[in-house]
Point group: C2
Chain length 136, copies 2
DNA sequence: ATGTAAATAAGAATAATTACGGTTTATAAA
DNA sequence: TTTATAAACCGTAATTATTCTTATTTACAT
């Protein structure tokens, strides 16, 4: 997702434009991988001295809720990256650098009949390993 | 996995037998679902007044490492259940009661060639929803 | 210009987990 | 059966990630 698209989404949903929000989006737009709240804070700190945790977390939540960011949990920490959705897909995630690669196959396509009596709300399919770059 | 089997594994790996460890295993043996450290503590507390966090977490780690317990992360909390491994499989997990159901289909069977240059260490496939009982 | 709801800062609170120093205990060998 | 020793344990403090609270500031529609 592009920054402009995200800003439009924000405006449409009645949220305000702020320079911090723009910079948060810039951060994620320039990264093709999952990043933590801490990573984001480190990026914002030099530009906005004294920026608060609250701002970080509130916006991560909001953006996630609006579908601007997608999230996953990697060793006990929530990680976010710019949403590449529109079409449903899953991810390979590099354990070293956090780089992601879309996987278009989805195991839910042919679901086992064993789950006939279960209500299915959600699923998670992720592959972990090392990207070509981090293998060296 | 049965308690005896787990105790044998412990002994074989050179760890000591203690009454607390036996009760931890009893707890998980009687549950067919993922449980948190807190759940375990609540169960042990009446039997061992003043049992420490350290004991809980140290043993959860150890058991997980030995393959006695498997773990997953559900809304920011680590959850454990008795390992049902031997054969590779995945889980349906009830969001209400934590009940699990094995799924024998594995999406890694036919991996997309897109990942040819990636080293794959691990993967996660979980389906979340409501079990028949919790739908009422 | 101005009113209002949203956004923010600052820091305290919470929740899960880990770490540390001192004591007890399971186990094996004398 | 005593004894030595490493493992297990307790009590508690520290850490880490995250959320909450209150007062203040700001974007933006009117």
């Amino acid at each position: 997702m592009k920054i402009e698209e995200a800003l439009a989404l924000l405006k449409e949903a009645g949220y305000k434009y702020t320079d911090k929000r723009e910079m948060i989006l810039t951060f994620f737009a320039n990264e093709d991988r999952y990043r933590t709240a801490k990573d984001l804070l480190a990026y914002l700190e030099p530009h906005f001295e004294g920026i608060s945790f609250d701002t970080i977390y509130r916006n991560l939540h909001l953006f996630n809720q609006l579908g601007i960011l997608e999230s996953t949990e990697l060793n006990g920490e929530k990680n976010y990256q710019m949403s590449c959705a529109k079409h449903h897909h899953h991810h390979f995630i590099c354990k070293d650098c956090g780089l992601t690669k879309e996987i278009h196959a989805c195991p839910m396509d042919r679901l086992p009949t064993e789950l006939n009596n279960f209500v299915i709300d959600d699923h998670k399919f992720e592959i972990y390993g090392l990207c070509p770059h981090c293998q060296q």
